[in-house]
């Protein structure tokens, strides 16, 4: 069963095509990562799946429901977003921040219910944030902050999460930690993930399927082995890239000074 169906999608801004005629079907409980150079349309694609951009042509369905027919609340119950640069308001504690993920469930005029609070506590526990729950969000390190933003998305209790460059600003250890957490959510809870990543090696190691996007169009789509190919990547990124296999995983290495 497909959790997300994107059919002939085009997204425009100021009469320029950001995404052109993209068709992708994402199976439930799998992880799809979109890769591509800057300006390829990765962020526009995931923001459109999250309902934040207007669809110029085509359609998107989440769990069988057309995105265009949903209001904000209905949409937020189906798909959660981890933005590239999340806004972290000063003076709010971690628990209240994560509880923002329950907005769609308790309505505008009501405070979070006991059920909402229980879900928030459970997510805090799952992501090892329980000890931080009273901390001011502004005092967290980059890794803790990114885990907190992921916790907010998980608190939305959606079957689909889209993440735009979730590892931005994190060191290698925290990048791996965050991606392992996501992998665990896919394996244990059947979560469907659509993410964008700049690190091609990590993208290949964690995703079930990669999509190489260039100038808003899909160049390659398939398992990591089929997409991480030296010629296509080198052409797309306009530089010489080498693909080296280490312990069964592909590692992508740029070669200095050999531009194309």
């Amino acid at each position: 069963m497909n959790a997300v169906e994107i059919n002939e999608l085009s997204v425009r801004a100021q009469s320029r095509d950001l995404v052109s005629n993209v068709t992708l079907h994402v199976e439930a409980g799998t992880w799809l990562t979109v890769i591509g150079p800057n300006g390829a349309g990765k962020t526009s694609l995931v923001e459109t799946v999250a309902g934040l951009r207007r669809i110029a042509h085509g359609n998107i369905s989440i769990s069988g429901q057309p995105l265009a027919s949903l209001n904000e609340r209905e949409r937020a119950k189906l798909v959660a977003l981890v933005p590239q640069r999340p806004s972290v308001p000063n003076g709010m504690n971690v628990r209240d921040y994560v509880a923002l993920g329950r907005t769609a469930y308790h309505g505008l005029l009501r405070a979070p219910s006991a059920g909402d609070r229980a879900i928030v506590e459970s997510v805090l526990e799952r992501l090892s944030l329980h000890d931080f729950r009273e901390r001011d969000v502004a005092t967290l390190s980059g890794g803790e902050r990114q885990r907190m933003v992921l916790a907010r998305a998980l608190a939305q209790s959606t079957m689909v999460i889209v993440l735009d460059e979730p590892t931005t600003g994190l060191d290698l250890h925290h990048q791996m930690e965050l991606l392992e957490l996501l992998r665990q959510e896919v394996t244990d809870c059947g979560l469907t993930i659509i993410a964008t990543l700049h690190d091609l090696t990590l993208a290949g190691q964690f995703a079930d399927r990669l999509v190489l996007l260039d100038a808003g169009r899909v160049l390659l789509d398939g398992p990591a082995r089929d997409v991480i190919r030296r010629e296509e990547l080198s052409r797309c990124y306009q530089m010489d890239l080498r693909v080296i296999e280490i312990d069964g995983s592909d590692v992508i290495v740029p070669v200095r000074g050999v531009g194309q």
């Binding site: 904000e72 907005t103 405070a111």
Partner: protein, 347 residues
């Protein structure tokens, strides 16, 4: 008491108690302090008898002073202080701008233009016509509608376009008001000037009943939107992804804040600083959640304005200081203190 850590429940309860005590103190001072001082015991007795508990010990003269002169002024002060504080806090939340005040979208300039028009052309500079509040209210409402229209027509508007539109409309209406003033007599200019500085001196029960329905409705709407404003603190896009209809919430909160402020300004003139310093003081004490700031602003804002008015009418008795001058004199140093404390806490 102050720290950058999110507030504890104990601190919130303490601040809430302080606000209630300040309100009670303001009510007793508002009714008891004046050229004819009335003791606190008698004021409390009179208030208790008003709700059917015991008997008032006020003399007939004191009773007239309390219920016909001071009480309407007190109630109008409570209502105006609550509305301006809540509107300021709500604007700061909805625009994510700590400098936002209730006059951001042109309410002040619209009301000022309406009042000036009324005094100069309806009263011919000889008096302040009785319908000046209505014309000021119309001016304020038109100003906000113009801002809303220029800023992107309702649901399509964003925070920044609305603020810029507010600046443009305010500048336009203020220049028109200046033109009307410049065309009028010295007497008119003095009357307009007095109106612009704000006062509760002309308060009556009829002005209270005129303003009260708007303020009750608008305060309820803004306070109820506190949770939505907390969600908006992460920005429009993220708030939408969390399920908040951002533009609808902005429309409702701005409409309620503007309508309530227009009603208050039409009755008491332009009283500055209340809408900025009250929410800021509370933010420093109870944290950044609008679920806490807005309800406490109702109580503390009401107390603050009545205490300021008590100072305005007693410090240079028998003459009165304009209320806007007192709130500015109190507000500027308090604001400077808030900035200093904030700077110290963040370093």
């Amino acid at each position: 008491m102050l720290s950058t850590r999110p507030p504890t429940r104990r601190r919130i309860v303490t601040v809430a108690l302080f606000c209630v005590i300040a309100l009670i103190g303001a009510i007793v001072a508002g009714l008891g302090v004046g050229p004819t001082p009335i003791s606190t015991t008698r004021i409390i007795g009179a208030l208790a008898s008003g709700v059917g508990l015991g008997h008032s010990t006020l003399t007939p003269l004191q009773s007239t002073i309390v219920w016909q002169l001071r009480a309407p002024r007190l109630v109008l002060g409570l209502v105006a202080g609550a509305m301006l504080s809540v509107a300021g806090g709500a604007y700061q939340g909805v625009f994510r701008n700590p400098l936002a005040d209730p006059y951001l979208l042109g309410v002040a300039s619209g009301a000022g233009l309406g009042a000036t028009f009324s005094i100069v052309y309806v009263g011919h500079g000889l008096s302040t016509p009785s319908w000046t509040p209505l014309i000021a209210f119309a001016g304020a409402t038109v100003a906000v509608l113009l801002t809303w229209g220029l800023g992107g027509r309702g649901l399509r508007s964003t925070a920044s376009t609305l603020i810029l539109a507010g600046v443009a409309i305010s500048a336009l209406l203020t220049s028109l008001q200046t033109y009307f003033q410049q065309q009028s007599s010295i007497g008119s200019i003095a009357r307009v000037y007095i109106w612009l500085l704000g006062s509760l001196a002309t308060a009556s029960w009829s002005s209270v009943w005129m303003v009260l329905p708007y303020v009750v409705l608008c305060v309820v709407v803004c306070v109820a939107a506190g949770g939505a404003l907390d969600v908006m603190s992460v920005g429009d896009e993220e708030a939408r992804s969390l399920g908040l209809p951002v533009r609808k919430v902005r429309l409702v909160v701005v409409a309620a804040s503007s309508l309530g402020t227009a009603a208050v300004v039409s009755a008491v003139g332009l009283i500055g600083f209340v809408g900025i310093i009250v929410p800021h003081i509370l933010r420093l004490l109870v944290g950044t959640s609008y679920r806490r700031i807005l309800p406490l602003s109702v109580v503390f804002g009401a107390a603050f304005l009545v205490l300021a008015d008590t100072i305005a009418r007693t410090v240079m008795a028998p003459s009165e200081l304009p209320l806007g001058v007192v709130t500015a004199i109190l507000g500027a140093p308090v604001f400077a203190l808030i900035l200093t404390v904030r700077r110290q806490l963040t370093t």
